[in-house]
């Protein structure tokens, strides 16, 4: 058995960063979750469900009693760091684009094994799972790493034509194109029979890249980035949670996690739909594997017939989860408005309060994809050393032993469960905190602010329990 040297270890880390930089586009880790749910079934998860609900409820009560102004001041504190210019942005994006080209070439021409071909591993594990977490910690790395900015700048320079002659996207369109594209992405990730198939993924990712670049040329880079490029929109929303802030002049500062959300403007209906879709898609990913869900459709989870057999129920479920979450969220905001006797429009209140979904979405992401990240992340590092299955060993990781045992057994189940449960509970507590900050902005009178939050807090308590239940209940895979 091989033991990795410090040099190899260092190489792995630089590879991890590099691979994040190389990353690109669409679908998901299928049922590759390696965690053993059987051990979790023996843990006292019921206490966690009750405790989590209490923690979220208690945080609401504490916030209601604290003087809002001092809390707000505390939360807005910044620790200035240094200035970080964005002069290298185009270059980094071009490097990222080069990596993307290599990856989508590896899709059809590399190994057919989704655990040896770097494309599905980078896209689903390093990008969709890993980069999302990095965005939540370090801020909007994607605005540097995306594989469009560099090529777009290059094209603009070559043609002597930038955004100034771009066609206008109608105002009413908002980010609906991104909502549609994200829905397509979620469907491909969660429902398509083979999102891990390297060639299939290469086609989807390559097509998305091309269409996006064309749209950026036609409508302008900034406009399409804000209205159509769903990955960038998702990542930038997540980045608003990060404890690192960077202002327009490039000055970096540390702030409290989630504090940047408070400065957000109300989202239009399309932005609201986008955020709710982000949370509902990862929620449905969890739900769709539970014995409960499969039982509704008479599917034997012990002889799960595979993704090709659940396309219809999955499509229905994804749509219904989104519709249900949207309806319940709007109802909670509406009831809050009534309780606080607010004269603000529902659209304005909901558009602001929906930002409180970000910590929850991030928490679900952590909890749901943690095991896949730990195991498939290792496969990803190995695959990058030999992207075309030609026997290369570019980074010294090609022959590394993938230690699946990292998520196996009762001990791992215990700590994984605790990390996952903590993420879910903490995410909801922070969501309550963020919502509270917005409520104060909407209703400067403290009693009204607290009252307006009551229904939304009930929803968050329910979602905490739901999130923990998804992690505790029997599932396939």
């Amino acid at each position: 058995m091989e033991r990795s040297s410090p040099a190899v270890e260092g190489c792995r880390w630089s590879l991890a960063l590099l691979s994040a930089a190389l990353g690109l586009v669409l679908p998901t880790p299928a049922f590759a979750h390696a965690s053993d749910r059987g051990h979790v079934l023996l843990l006292p998860t019921g206490y966690y469900l009750i405790g989590g609900a209490f923690a979220v409820a208690a945080s609401f009560l504490v916030l209601a009693l604290l003087p809002p102004a001092s809390l707000d001041r505390f939360w807005r504190r910044r620790l200035p760091l240094f200035t970080f210019s964005d002069s290298a942005r185009a270059t980094i994006s071009l490097v990222s684009f080069a990596g993307f080209v290599i990856l989508i070439t590896a899709g059809p021409f590399g190994s057919r094994d989704p655990l040896s071909n770097p494309l599905p591993l980078v896209v689903w594990t390093l990008l969709w799972t890993g980069l999302t977490l990095l965005q939540g910690v370090f801020g909007d790395l994607w605005s540097w790493l995306n594989p469009w900015y560099g090529p777009w700048r290059l094209l603009s320079r070559l043609t002597g034509r930038g955004d100034e002659v771009a066609r206008q996207l109608p105002q009413w369109l908002g980010c609906w194109p991104a909502v549609i594209l994200f829905l397509a992405f979620a469907w491909f990730e969660l429902i398509d029979p083979a999102p891990d198939d390297p060639a299939r993924l290469a086609f989807a990712a390559g097509l998305y890249w091309l269409v996006t670049l064309i749209a950026m040329r036609v409508f302008g880079y900034d406009k399409w980035s804000r209205g159509g490029e769903f990955l960038g929109i998702f990542f930038s929303m997540v980045a608003r949670f990060a404890p690192v802030a960077r202002d327009d002049d490039g000055r970096l500062a540390l702030c409290w996690p989630g504090a940047k959300l408070l400065a957000a403007e109300p989202l239009p209906a399309s932005g609201m739909a986008f955020l709710l879709l982000a949370l509902s898609s990862v929620s449905f990913d969890g739900l769709s594997k539970t014995f409960f869900w499969l039982g509704l459709f008479g599917i034997n989870p012990l002889e799960f017939p595979g993704r090709t057999a659940v396309i219809d129920s999955g499509t229905l479920g994804l749509g219904m989860t989104f519709a249900l979450l949207t309806a319940v969220f709007l109802l909670a905001v509406f009831l809050g408005q009534r309780l606080a006797r607010s004269d603000r429009s529902l659209a304005q209140s909901a558009g602001l309060l929906v930002w409180s979904i970000v910590p929850i979405a991030l928490a679900y992401h952590v909890a749901h994809y943690l095991t896949a990240l730990l195991v498939d992340g290792q496969y990803a590092l190995a695959s990058l050393s030999d992207p075309f299955a030609l026997g290369w060993n570019l980074f010294g990781t090609a022959d590394m032993q993938v230690e699946a045992g990292i998520v196996a057994g009762a001990g791992s189940a215990w700590w994984l469960w605790n990390v996952q449960a903590s993420a879910i509970i903490l995410g909801h507590v922070l969501a309550v905190l963020v919502a509270h900050g917005f409520a104060w902005r909407l209703h400067p009178q403290p009693t009204r602010a607290a009252l307006s939050q009551f229904p939304l807090t009930v929803l968050m308590i329910a979602y905490t329990i739901f999130g923990l239940w998804l992690l505790a209940t029997p599932t396939v895979g």
């Binding site: 059987g38 023996l42 094994d113 198939d197 012990l302 595979g306 993704r307 209940t473 029997p474 599932t475």
Partner: protein, 434 residues
Amino acid sequence: MTDKNGFFDLSKTTLTRRNALKGLAAGAGLAMAPGFVRYSQAQSSAPIKIGFQSHRTGIGAAYGRWYEKTTAAAIKAINAAGGINGRQVEVIIEDDGTDPGRGAEVVGKFATQHKTDIVFGTLFSHVVIGSAPAAGEAKMPYFVVSEGHHVASTKLNRYVFQPGITDVKSQIQSMAPWIAANAGKKVTQIFPDFAFGYDHRDYLPPALKAQGAEVIAQIAIPPTESSFTKYFPQIPAETEVIYHVMVGPAVLTFVKELGEFYGSNRPQLFGFIDSLEATDINSPGLEFLDGSHFWEGSPRYAQPDDSAAQKAYRAAVGIDDNGAAVGDPKDVSTAAHMFGCWETLYVVKKAMEDAGYKGPEDRAKLVEATEALKEFAEGPEHPQGPKTFNGKIHQCFGIQNISKVEGGKLKVVHKTKIEDGLYEAEGDYTTQAL
């Protein structure tokens, strides 16, 4: 058993998944390998292509990972010893998502796109059953490692073989003599209420009856059940043996609750390791299994009397004395089943050599050559034990292990005879046209 042919002398090169699976193990060292000279005049130097229908994702992924490791190790050994008919072997993996629908698609892809010589390696029964028609249609020899009775039932087609692992009917039947003689005569079965459980429900009672024992109760548990205490009162008081074959995430809960129900005064317990394959036998909740017995295809734990071939096989695949990955003790293997990949590949090698196999145009000859095989001697190619092969039903028959949980390990206490698992053929594939 000694390693006369040097199959396991892998010291010259590091075993890696990649080069083994890509058939890149060639090179100067190979020319020296035993067997190479014999085949050096072979007509074609192009590699033999084996399509590996692999459960890389989906519910079979934990098995799939170990099937892949075992396959890589076998191919490495075969190539190091000169390949098949002097040609190196290349494995092409296609993920079937443990999905019968995709399984058929994958077989089609192997036939038309990759143009592989055979398709190999499928485990889950529903994928085998879903893929077999596509293999028959493409006239593609399809070597599965599934342990299902579907191949031997002769309800599939002439292109489907299971020569490297015994089928569940044979396994169950061969348990009966030991259970009746050592555990007890009155048996209550607890099984999941679907096809996997039905095999045990249907095959055990007649086998026990033939041994003078009887099944006195059969308790079918709905597959979605996660709490079992309410079923235990259905176990008759006179039960001497509980025969359990629960599978799925709730198995640990099942064992724990059974332990709470009985306390220290329990009937004998007999199970199939399928319930706990890839799961540490020392996991919390499984304490109640101490002293109970399990069927094992190939033993998970190294045994004091392991043959040289068994030791070499374990080293080649990379499992330690506890049946876990070398260097990753929590990664428990699927030892009871995965040996089937190793042995199947050696059967393919033998059949191809017997047939003088040159390429896809010889697939029919390969089918006939496989059907003509009669027995496989225990040794480096068949480390699990000796086997016979029934060419009419395309199924091998072999020994089974009965292991006792003792001191946190599974200790083999009985090895069945091949005859214990034989049964009347239910049909004859050889009458079907090729």
